[in-house]
Symmetry: C2
Subunit: 415 residues, 2 copies
């Protein structure tokens, strides 16, 4: 299985999350399963990133990674901008106290009503096509608002080794690089407020060298496009790409050399970018490690010499851990028995299966864990991103999982 | 792409579903995206099955395939039993008018509260392990009810060519065949009402010969287990396994020889089964073809010579069509432009992508369709099973899809 994030430790055999025992957290929530998020880990993550980034580079949160309301409110206080992908996310961001001037809206399928809502709030719209630009201008005319726009660019390069390639070749995202300057020029000419470029080449890479190369290419591309347009971009969104370790052999990124290389790339950029700000748009890397999914063992059973621990949660809450969301080969997320944390593993492996009546619902396949009993609490790590909101919660008619954010002050926020 | 089910036809270039034009249905729902289900197709499916099954074999609906309330009410009137997998599904089945004596409850992770609810309503519980049996008896003692039980058996064989193997080797479902008689005997001895066996070896097979062999083996196993116990089972649930065609090259099952072979297997069974009833437990095969997902084109764009049609729906409603649910290699579901139904395809292919800002959200990859324009309605077929309820509806903050059932009388039921 993948590596348990080093920040987690146990006390008297019980996994602690933000200083609280896992079993006590399940009691606090009333029942398992639940997602627990640690606000201090979010703070630490953002602070670590800021410490290595050049001063002209902001930190944005891609809220699709986790839209749990208390977590959004917390993130609103520690990042510079929010990247949203729907009018539903816009409502959530505004409700979390994010000022609309800090919000940017990307996504290939924005409806007219969503564009109108973005205009109404003065949110920056990342244009994904010439057709979308025309629809935005039509909405702007209709409601009498000046659009704030950036152009999302489909770059000619991708992020090597990334889990999801979002640039390079034919893509549904953004405008091909060679057509981007013309679109930007047109928007400036019709009086739109020009906000700059959004260039997102890939995500979930653990290859620091590849990220460095991608960022250098992105800064270079942004400079070249800006010269073509003849207008300086106030902001260049460099996308994300920072991966987190999920699987055996994965190693956490070393962000210090990435920050140093980015500072160099920005310092060496064309004069056209000398006044521009930059931003990294991160979701998974900011919140993934700060979340743990806790689910209780209902049954332990033997079948043909193998042991299965059946839990009260499953893929309806944590689809990605079952290997059914964006992964081709099923591998094991880091997992532990929360109330036997640090104990030596049993001699024989156990498979953790969810309560759904389908063979897809396998959360850990033949892992070595301490001997499991009914009532034990299984912890699945790396559950802070693309967990509760990215899973089919109503499948088979079970209840959704509880979610809670633990603050530095020891508060436990459920909504 | 996969074959469009032959029951669907067009009129004046518009796809008809239960005699209604797709565009009119979208208007009726208020907006796209929506799922439309055709009640007459459900009737036809059940009738076709009954016509080939022996008289002693009932038809059960595995409601996990589609729990939409109007569809449940309709199915309640045409099948013999409902198979449920959670207390949430029990509530839905009861609300749909299914008598509790017709309900059976399988699933490897039943909580104590769910077992108590099943006891309270007199639902048949399919025991998945010795541990679950002990927990059920404890609940029965506590509330003073006699449990009605069947034993779910993990058979020593699987269903060849099935999409999901649920038997053969170590499995989280049921009790290994060699331990099943002892568990059944114990339940009978303590006074439980003995309901029989549940033997489910696999699902989604398009190989008729394999299904025939599996059913014969299942009847034989049920006979052997019953002789070991020394008690006749009132009901033998033979599981499902009937697949539907999703992908290129898939061909619909011919059920006539399956029914004939099953009749023969039952007629030739051991005397111990001479008074037993049998049941097929089907979900996908009963409802899959009767559903169509309709989603509107928001944008048509070019990237590096490829054409993308971006729609207002996506994997948050129809995860399986994106290839992210139980399939290793992504292949295309049958798809059409509903308002250009029957038109000749354009010369160049188009990819249908959802509105989510992730490369996973691809509903059809480079398919040949009539030339697509903004405002067109895309129909994705085979959406009646494992669609709305098996997708991450809240992902990226979009609205859920509407759902509606069209009755034979022309009524349009939304809930």
């Amino acid at each position: 299985m993948g590596p348990i994030p080093p920040a987690y430790r146990g006390e008297d055999g019980m996994l602690l999350i933000a200083g609280c025992g896992a079993a006590a957290l399940a009691d606090e929530a009333g029942d398992t399963p639940l997602f627990v998020y640690d606000a201090a880990m979010l703070d630490d993550r953002v602070a670590a990133l800021r410490a290595v980034l050049p001063g002209r580079c902001d930190v944005h949160y891609a809220m699709k990674a986790n839209p749990f309301a208390p977590l959004l409110r917390h993130m609103a206080g520690i990042v510079d901008g929010f990247d949203i992908a729907s009018s539903g996310e816009l409502e959530m961001a505004l409700k979390a106290g994010v000022g609309s001037e800090r919000i940017s809206f990307a996504g290939p399928g924005k409806r007219d009503a969503e564009l109108a809502m973005a205009l109404d709030h003065g949110v920056t719209v990342h244009l994904e096509s010439e057709g979308e630009a025309a629809r935005l201008l039509a909405q702007a005319d209709r409601i009498g608002k000046t659009p704030r726009v950036a152009v999302r660019v489909n770059p000619d390069f991708d992020l090597k080794g990334s889990g999801m390639r979002m640039g390079g070749g034919a893509k549904p995202f953004g405008v091909d690089a060679e057509r981007a300057p013309a679109l930007a020029r047109r928007m400036i000419d019709v009086g739109a407020e020009w906000r700059g470029w959004h260039i997102f080449a890939g995500s979930q890479s653990l290859d620091g060298e590849a990220i460095i190369a991608m960022q250098a290419a992105t800064v270079e591309l942004a400079g070249r496009l800006s010269e073509d347009v003849g207008a300086a971009p106030p902001l260049v969104n460099l996308g994300g790409g920072f991966g987190v370790p999920y699987f055996p052999g994965d190693r956490a990124l070393d962000i210090a050399p990435i920050g140093a290389a980015l500072a160099e790339a920005i310092a060496g950029a064309t004069d056209m970018l000398s006044e521009s700000h930059f931003a990294l748009e991160l979701g998974r890397w900011l919140v993934g490690e700060a979340g743990v999914y806790l689910t209780r063992v209902i049954d332990v059973k033997q079948s043909h010499g193998e042991t299965f621990a059946v839990v009260d949660g499953g893929l309806h809450h944590q689809l990605a851990a079952s290997g059914n969301f964006g992964t081709v080969v099923r591998r094991n997320y880091p997992v532990a028995i929360a109330n036997r944390f640090g104990e030596a593993p049993a001699e024989r492996p156990v498979s953790i299966v969810g309560c759904l009546c389908t063979p897809l619902d396998r959360l850990a396949d033949q892992v070595l864990l301490p001997s499991v009993e009914v009532g034990d609490i299984v912890a699945i790590f790396m559950a802070g991103a693309y967990g509760a909101s990215a899973s089919p919660a109503t499948f088979l008619g079970h209840e959704p999982a509880s979610q809670l954010l633990l603050t530095r002050d020891g508060d436990c926020l459920f909504d």
